[in-house]
Amino acid sequence: MKRIAVVALAVLLAALTVPVASAQEDDDVVLKIGNTQTFDTMNPTAGFNVNEYEVWNLQYATLTDKAADDFAPIPGLAESWDPSEDGLTYTYTLRDDLVWSDGEPLTAEDIVWTINTSRDQGWANHISTVQNLTAVAVDEQTVEITSSVPDPKLPVMDVYIVPKHIWEPVATDAEAVTAYENLDGVGSGPFTIAEFPNEQLVRMVANPSFWGWQGEEPPIDEIVFQSYTNPDAMVAALTTGEMDAIYQIPATAMADLEDQPDIETVVGFQGGFEEIAINGGAAEGQPHPALLDLEVRRAISFAIDKEAVIEDLYAGLALPATTMSPGADLKWVPDIPEEDQFTYDPERANQILDDAGYMDSDGDGVREMPDGTNPIILRHAVHTGEDLAIPIADLLTGWMEQIGIGVELSSYDGDQLFELIIQGDYDTFYWNWVPFVDPDPMLSYFTEAELGNYNDANWTDPRYEELYAEQKVELDPERRLEIVHDMLTILYEAAVYIPLYIAPELQAYRTDRFEGWVRQPAEVGPIMFSNTSPSYVLLTPVGGDSDSGATNTWLIVGGIAAVVVIGGVVLATRRRSTTADDRE
């Protein structure tokens, strides 16, 4: 009996070491993408994860698409559009013969229904774009969209258009629509959802009726998104060929990947930044009184060594930041003249504090208020959910020590920190943002209306407020860019919000699998998980589908041999011990 069990175990072990290669036997071309975030939902009215947007970008076409190079509006479902005299209404003409992936015709009705319903029900990913819009179907192929206020974002219409025939029955109200699982797989984009078995895997298949294929066979049959909770395992999966491209690579692994054959690394930027925020005092809870003095905030800004952060914590891969980056395109960030920048200079910082009268009157190494009371000790909030929050807190403590300011650390998780910011009972914290393509939302966070919500600095400024209202209705793109630059300069000079760096998106792909990756925006952007994910329709397999499993054959044979030998040894020892027992 025992012998049979051992043999069975050995056979089972041997069987397990053989990778199941049958998946590669049919000729399907499969693109496999790894990332480190799990998928919460497939429903675009409920989800918010970067990896989920990637799936919806593929399943749902939008009325206007965005150019890979510069996010300029290009034809999507709509082939062309015309503005009215007053610029409030746009008339979109759809492409000929559009159909959903299930064969139903895609008409103006689908677009009108999506825009008006998402506005009425407040769909989370649609509402900020559609809140002032009304859509009307002129005929099957023509849609008229009118905004109740001047809207500089038009004619861009980048909300996901969903199939009315599927969604109308499930979107009965705001709550019901978010509870829909959305596994119907009906879309108008190049790929549609085929399988979502658990939070770590999404399988999409090519939509043969997608207009962009122009009647030709799609070059890729399937895309699989696999999420790894262990980023090092994901990196390993790329080197072993289990994955074709990966995203969210640890900075420390990038140098190793660069040295690997057949692997190309990509450092992409789309505006995400990390910042140290100072409490501006507009909330109920107040900062240390010294922080209400612009000179003190300026001194703190001069004492922060951004280059050191990038070198020490990001292996030199991030871009140093001056002021906030409000959009995915770095053009929105104004050029702050070199002489006006807060370049790391602790001596100058000390001088500013000395001149303003903040002296260390009791000789304990910490400055006090000009009247000699209330030592300046910053209450710095450390976000436990951010990997870099602790090293940044350590660096901050060192920088502040150099200028005679104390730092007292306390930890919070994201939820608690959010609440703390609203209450205002802190002096500084470190966090980050990933902005949208349009700068409006990010800019709005420093207005009075966002106090008690997303006003991260508890800071307001009447001039900033005026300019914010102005840019919101400015229809001339050049003029709007200027206004935004002015606003960000005001924010920079107030020294309440100190962006440390523009965070890189670290990605890599195998050069022996697919070619045709494009960056969005051009030259600096990432190749995947960008705003409209343009790479996927352009990719083609390199020199046929190579079988990565073949190289391992000898290892597998060796593995089986090892297992058999071990099994044999175990058998032999067992037999010997039995005879020994019998002899006793």
Binding site: P19, K32, G122, L201, T229, A233, E242
Partner: protein, 309 residues
């Protein structure tokens, strides 16, 4: 039962001790107008006073309605039950394997005390036991998945295989191997040590001398007379560990990207996804309580004296 009610109440307040606003933090940086956020707070019932929320929570839970997850917007019970099979397979299989192999190891070690077998078994299992399980997992992963390339680096099924039937099952076993090996190795030591010391206590007993005097073979003395009497502490340990099967293995699940309950807990804390956390903790507590009951019942079966007490 009383314990479960306590857990129920405790769960609710545990996550609300700190003043929090899940809607604000879940939707930070999501470009949603203020009015819509207020609507969401209302939808989640977060605008109600705490006591009203608590009343609602008790009523709904009593009807086995755990609410909707803030993150996925799906029914909490549905979300949890989806993740039970992966966890039970992974942690269950390794709990059984480590219990069986560990106990056998302990028996051999004790019976041949101070022999080379004892030394190698005890020190071998202790080495694995003293390693952090996630670290052991990483070492195995690097060795078997990266260097040797025999096993996949993570996940439950190979990406891109729309496989069904036997090949899918084999594929899953292939993915299951490394995490199971890690957990089994990590917990062997516990069983080996407990079994060994418990058996050593029993070995001094007179009835074993009697058994030997009857002329029974050594193996029979061991298996019939010594081991059953030494098993009580092992049963306790097994029951406790089985109670934690459902809690998953957060660290090892994370290392091998295994979509189980441990991973779900870690994700839910991020929000915090209150309904999901309440559901998970209730399930975990219920499992522990249930297996403790099972242990108590097994005692009286193994050792009739327990019943009298």
């Amino acid at each position: 039962m009383l314990t479960l009610v306590f857990v129920l109440v405790f769960n609710f307040f545990l996550f609300r001790v700190v003043q929090t606003d899940p809607v604000g933090s879940l939707f930070r940086g999501r470009n949603i107008p203020q009015e819509r956020l207020d609507e969401l707070r209302e939808e989640f019932g977060l605008d109600e006073p705490m006591l009203t929320q608590f009343g609602l929570y008790l009523r709904e839970t009593a009807q086995l309605n755990f609410g909707y997850s803030y993150q996925s917007r799906q029914d909490v019970w549905g979300e949890i039950s989806e993740r039970i099979p992966p966890t039970v397979i992974l942690v269950g299989v390794s709990a059984v394997l480590s219990a069986v192999i560990g106990t056998l190891g302990g028996v051999i070690a004790a019976w041949r005390r101070n022999s080379w077998k004892d030394h190698s078994i005890t020190s071998g299992t202790m080495v694995f036991y003293s390693m952090p399980d996630f670290w052991l997992g990483m070492v195995l992963l690097v060795l078997f998945a990266v260097v040797l390339g025999w096993f996949p680096v993570g996940g439950m099924v190979a990406a891109g295989s729309g496989e069904t039937g036997v090949s899918r099952l084999l594929d899953q076993l292939h993915h299951l191997f490394l995490p199971t090996l890690t957990l089994t190795l990590a917990y062997l030591g516990e069983y080996t040590l407990v079994t060994r010391s418990s058996l050593l206590d029993v070995m001094g007993e007179d009835y074993l001398t009697v058994a030997r005097a009857k002329g029974l073979r050594d193996v029979v003395v061991r298996n019939r007379h010594a081991v059953p009497n030494a098993l009580l502490p092992v049963v306790t340990l097994t029951a406790i560990n089985f109670g934690f099967v459902l809690s998953g293995a957060i660290a090892v699940e994370a290392v091998f990207s295994w979509p189980g309950l441990g991973k779900a807990t870690a994700d839910a804390i991020r929000g915090p996804d209150l309904p999901m956390l309440q559901g998970l903790f209730l399930l975990f507590s219920a499992a522990v309580i249930f297996f403790n009951l099972v242990a108590d019942l097994t005692y009286s079966w193994l050792d009739p004296r327990v019943e009298e007490a």
